[in-house]
């Protein structure tokens, strides 16, 4: 069972998100017979309601996934790895949800996915300028209208 590593900021970010949002009371890593959060399956996190319909579970997981992305963007990084530079937030939410609705996927699996998506400060992997991400953001029609009024097309 994969433990979380404090040298990996992806592991730290997912652990901090789940702890501060009341999803688990497990410690960061296993010690003295107490299991760490890494091997914990999704079905044991509080948001995972196995009594609900799949529709309800998916919507709840999608909200948690969106909150995780916002949490990482706020406290850790807004940069993405190259494979994800053109993905929108809904794309990332959809990817995380496919993992977060599987009962036996673990917190380590979720941290691994976060690591795949985001380029954390300590990493030297593919750099993606933030402007590249911004370039792929589609402004809403109302924003476009306002920009047009300002003469920006």
């Amino acid at each position: 069972m994969a433990e979380l590593r404090d040298s990996n900021q992806a592991d730290v970010s997912v652990f901090m998100f789940l702890t501060t949002n009341g999803q688990s009371i497990r410690p960061f890593s296993s010690s003295n017979g107490v299991k760490g959060m890494g091997p914990q399956p999704m079905q044991e996190l509080v948001y995972f309601n196995s009594a609900a319909t799949k529709d309800m579970l998916k919507q709840n997981a999608a909200l948690m996934a969106h909150m995780l992305i916002a949490f990482i963007n706020t406290y850790y990084t807004q940069q993405r790895e190259k494979a994800y530079e053109k993905k929108t937030t809904p794309d990332l939410v959809a990817e995380l949800v496919t993992l977060m609705i599987v009962p036996d996927k673990t917190v380590s699996d979720l941290a691994k996915k976060a690591d795949d998506i985001f380029r954390y400060a300590s990493e030297e992997s593919a750099a993606v300028p933030l402007a590249d991400v911004a370039n792929n953001v589609q402004p809403s029609p109302s924003t476009n209208k306002k920009l047009n009024k300002l003469g920006i097309k």
Partner: protein, 339 residues
């Protein structure tokens, strides 16, 4: 109306279908087949009354986005909106159909618009002792987050739906068309909605009594989630209704689901959580004969307690459309993982 009590003692096994191995493709993206996204959970049901024998069965669920015709629009303040076409299927099958406590299979296509807004809890303020990048300060971060007035999340999903419903033997079948809306709200920890959510009060007391780290503080997950649907039902084959009415007639039906979950307590340092879902189906303006036969409304409720890395105790009661007898089922088991 007879009530049957079911006890399912044994192992509940959850696994992904063997085809779930993703196929690597260029650019680091991974694709899965629809079959690979099928989730199966084998079950064993053991009736305890009427000397009836138990039997094996399983639940299945699949949910896949087929297309996103109008694109995805990112909005300010961690929000976005999009529309999408989805394929969904879920149900419970017992190899001995008479012991199936939730004999209702549903397969549907939905075209949905969704809006999502995500907040972030405030942590890492000077003097709080919390450093978001240092897991050793997690306890200080957790306590600071409990006082956060930010960190609420909101998601709404609205759309049109067309589905096919049946019992597992396909003896009863419905086609339905209509609209649905799912609303998920997760209040900020120190918000009024979270602090005064009455559904969480019993659990707050239990958490305090069992020295759960949350103590008497509320859990945002306990805020109820709601799904509403208004459907036109076309009974393709329903002998019970036909016998009463002498014909097949279309009718309108309202469906509702309310769900919540919350940590309950700690047991030997491990968290116990509570999960609940209540589903209600009501035919609008039913024929008096249908009402008299109790075919105009169906209620189904399931709740479970789950111990971290331990047992799960589930109780389900009521009936779903096409299931003609109220049933209650207890399930006790462990979740095992097969890789």
């Amino acid at each position: 109306m007879k009530y049957a009590i079911y006890v399912s003692l044994g192992f509940l096994v959850a696994f992904e279908c063997a085809h779930a191995q993703p196929t690597p493709v260029a650019g680091g993206e991974q694709k899965e087949s629809l079959l690979g996204k099928l989730h199966l959970e084998p079950k064993y049901f053991q009736p305890t009354q009427e000397n009836r024998e138990g039997g094996l069965g399983f639940t299945y669920k699949v949910d896949e986005t087929v297309a996103t015709p109008t694109g995805k629009v990112e909005l300010p303040n961690n929000a976005y909106r999009m529309s999408k076409l989805e394929f969904k299927a879920e149900g419970t099958v017992a190899f001995k159909s008479s012991i199936n406590p939730a004999d209702f299979l549903k397969t549907s296509f939905e075209y949905n618009y969704e809006y999502s807004k995500a907040g972030v809890v405030t942590i890492g303020a000077p003097g709080s002792g919390c450093d978001p990048k240092d897991p050793k300060t997690a306890e200080a971060c957790r306590k600071e987050a409990l006082r956060s007035r930010t960190g609420e999340g909101f998601r709404v999903n609205v759309g049109a739906t067309a589905s096919f419903e049946s019992d597992q033997k396909f003896d009863k079948r419905n086609k339905t068309y209509g609209a649905q809306s799912t609303i998920v709200y997760r209040p900020a920890p120190d918000s009024f909605a979270n602090q005064w959510n009455p559904l969480d009060w019993p659990f707050r007391v239990l958490r305090r009594a069992s020295n759960h780290p949350l103590g008497f503080d509320p859990s945002p997950d306990a805020f109820p989630k709601l799904r509403l649907a208004l459907e036109r039902v076309n009974p393709d084959k329903d002998t019970d209704r036909e016998a009463i009415l002498g014909k097949k007639d279309d009718y309108n039906r309202v469906n509702m689901e309310v769900a919540m979950s919350s940590p309950v307590a700690t047991l030997e340092g491990k968290q116990v959580k509570f999960e609940w879902s209540w589903r209600y189906f009501k035919e609008l303006s039913p024929n008096s004969a249908i009402h008299a036969a109790s075919l105009d409304r169906f209620r189904y409720s399931a709740l479970s307690f789950r111990l971290d890395s331990g047992w799960r105790l589930t109780y389900a009661t009521g009936r779903l459309p096409l299931n003609r007898q109220d049933q209650a089922a207890w399930e006790l088991g462990y979740q095992l993982k097969f890789d």
